[in-house]
């Protein structure tokens, strides 16, 4: 079972068969796998590389935009804050103004109401006094008439005299 292989170093002697099949196989391999494998893979890799580069560029751009936006945002925020305080200040002012105005108006109104009330009271009082004067005059007249009817039996001179007397009476 031990083989004594008397064999030469024949791998250095290129035979025609291996030369032929080697050439055919390698050229077919180069052409065939180049077509279905290497070139599509190359293209796919290039495409993906471009995609990745594009994505990175986009991310960078987005980051820059974000940074811009952020500064814009902070500026806006500061502005908004300022505006808010401005608005608050003016609102406060307006409130105070309104309150003051209302207060003065109320004061005015109340004084006006009080004044008119006083006037009315005065008027009413006067009217009442006049009424009282008239009524009391009339009453006195009636009384007097009755007295005089009894005594004078309706003399117009007497009536005029009495009226004059009534008018002269000052109710104070």
């Amino acid at each position: 079972m031990f083989i004594l292989a008397d064999f030469d170093f024949n791998v250095m002697r290129p035979g025609f068969g291996l030369l032929f099949w080697g050439t055919v196989t390698f050229l077919l391999f180069w052409w065939g796998v180049g077509k279905v494998g290497f070139k599509p893979i190359m293209n796919a890799l290039k495409e993906r590389e471009d995609d990745i580069q594009g994505a990175l560029d986009e991310a960078k751009k987005a980051r820059e935009e974000m940074a811009n936006l952020k500064s814009e945002h902070t500026a806006l925020l500061a502005q908004a804050r300022e505006e808010r305080s401005e608005i608050m200040r003016s609102a406060k002012e307006a409130k105070e103004n309104i309150i003051n105005e209302a207060r003065t108006k109320a004061k005015e109104e109340s004084s006006r109401i009080i004044a008119s009330a006083k006037e009315q009271i005065e008027n009413e009082k006067m009217a009442a006094l006049i009424d009282i004067k008239n009524k009391s005059g009339n009453m006195a007249l009636e009384i007097a008439e009755k007295i005089l009817q009894k005594e004078l039996k309706g003399s117009s001179d007497q009536q005029t005299f009495v009226q004059k007397l009534v008018d002269d009476i000052k109710l104070n």
Binding site: D8, N10, R13, G15, T25, V33
Partner: protein, 429 residues
């Protein structure tokens, strides 16, 4: 290379020393074993006929002189059978001999033992034989054609080259390897036939290419389906490697032209990586496609064409007429530059081949230590100890090889990218 490798392994020398020490004590056992062997394999005389002393008779492994290198070379070699564990699976043979024409059949026709690892055929088909899993051809025209039952195959070392002989009808017929294009530099050259078989390495290539085709197609579909979503599953794994090659190799070296060459670089990287890794799966064929000079040559030549066909004016000007350099320097520089055009792919070819082959050889030699220490089962005590040590060493080596599989695929790809980058670079001065 073999000698350098072995001499580098002091362990190997130590093993030989131990073997020599124990040899005399074992002599009796040795003979006994021999007889056993003989009786058992009475009707399978050819099965163990690998004697280097001539004849197709029985061969006995001699622990004192046993050399693990041929075993290693057998394991890293391409083959016409696919051995999974102890079993051999037949593969299609497509053989062409100018004097006979085209022959196509499954290697099972050689009638090798399906439950034996070595894959030696018991039949010759039209003078082709299956010798240790490799198709070889009988040189002698007098050998009959058709399906012939042979007595066995034996090997002999002649001028540092192993020569095989088929024993048939009392005669020995020399066999030869397939034609190779090394022109005899590495012991090959043109012979009487060409082997275009779907061999073990070719099958491994097909399997890996189909696997990668499926993998990349499904990953590409996942990208389509899960558009704009995070990767999942195998997509994550593939993407990590893919993006690494794309961003660390293609883009830095190729500038704005990276998209044009990325599919080529990816194809190189994943093809080499898959075959490197597939060759490292133990007991699964042990295919050594990227450790075979033929395949690295193919890759290097394709790289050469891709680089030089895309070379621009600037590139060629730097080779043939280097600007702003005095004429005498140009005379030296131009030949060097021209040589460089060819040396660049040549180094790519050799680097990948040497790294993968060396890793496989070292692993096989570490495994061989078990057999050398135990003297092929004659000394089990030492064998168990050697096995423990060998497992540790092999595990260590396999971890390194796993690293090497990635590194070599990466190195081949990055160097190719740098060559393409240099060839397509625009003038900048």
């Amino acid at each position: 290379m073999r000698k350098i490798l072995i001499s580098c392994l002091f362990v190997f020398g130590f093993a030989l020393f131990l073997n020599a020490q124990d040899h005399s004590h074992d002599h009796h056992n040795h003979d006994h074993h021999n007889h056993d062997h003989h009786d058992h394999n009475h009707d399978h005389a050819h099965k163990d006929d690998h004697s280097s002393h001539g004849g197709c008779g029985h061969h006995e492994v001699d622990p004192a002189t046993w050399d693990p290198a041929p075993t290693a070379f057998h394991h890293i070699s391409d083959a016409n059978v696919f051995s999974i564990g102890p079993f051999s699976i037949p593969l299609p043979c497509i053989l062409y001999a100018p004097d006979h024409g085209l022959s196509m059949f499954m290697s099972s026709k050689f009638d090798f033992d399906w439950n034996a690892h070595e894959g030696t055929g018991h039949k010759a088909i039209d003078r082709y034989v299956l010798d240790l899993g490799v198709v070889r051809r009988i040189k002698d025209n007098s050998f009959p054609m058709g399906e012939i039952k042979i007595d066995g195959i034996t090997h002999k070392k002649e001028n540092d080259v192993t020569v095989g002989y088929v024993c048939y009808g009392g005669n020995k017929y020399q066999i030869e390897d397939q034609s190779t294009i090394d022109g005899g530099v590495f012991g090959g050259g043109m012979t009487s036939f060409y082997d275009f078989s779907i061999s073990k390495n070719v099958i491994s290539m097909f399997l890996m290419v189909l696997f990668l085709f499926w993998l990349f197609r499904s990953v590409a579909n996942t990208y389509k389906k899960r558009r704009g979503m995070a990767p999942t599953g195998k997509q994550s794994l593939v993407e990590a490697i893919f993006v690494f090659i794309q961003d660390e190799v293609a883009k830095p070296f190729l500038g704005h032209k990276w998209e044009k060459f990325t599919p080529f670089l990816m194809a190189l990287f994943f093809f080499i990586l898959a075959l490197n890794l597939f060759g490292q799966i133990p007991f699964l064929g042990g295919s050594n496609a990227t450790g075979n000079l033929a395949l690295t040559l193919v890759l290097a030549v394709i790289t050469f064409f891709v680089v030089n066909l895309n070379g621009n004016k600037h590139y060629w000007q730097h080779i043939f007429n280097f600007p702003d350099v005095p004429a005498p320097v140009k005379a030296i520089l131009t030949p060097i530059e021209i040589l460089g055009v060819f040396i660049k792919p040549l180094t790519l070819m050799l680097r990948l081949f040497a790294n993968i082959t060396a890793g496989h050889i070292v692993i096989i030699i570490f495994i061989s230590l078990i057999f050398m220490f135990s003297e092929f089962g004659r000394n089990m005590g030492i064998g168990v100890g050697a096995a423990a040590g060998s497992v540790f060493l092999t595990l260590f080596m396999m971890a390194i090889e796993l690293l090497v599989a990635f590194i070599q695929a990466f190195v081949f790809t990055i160097l190719t990218a740098s060559y393409i980058g240099a060839a397509t670079e625009e003038a900048h001065h």
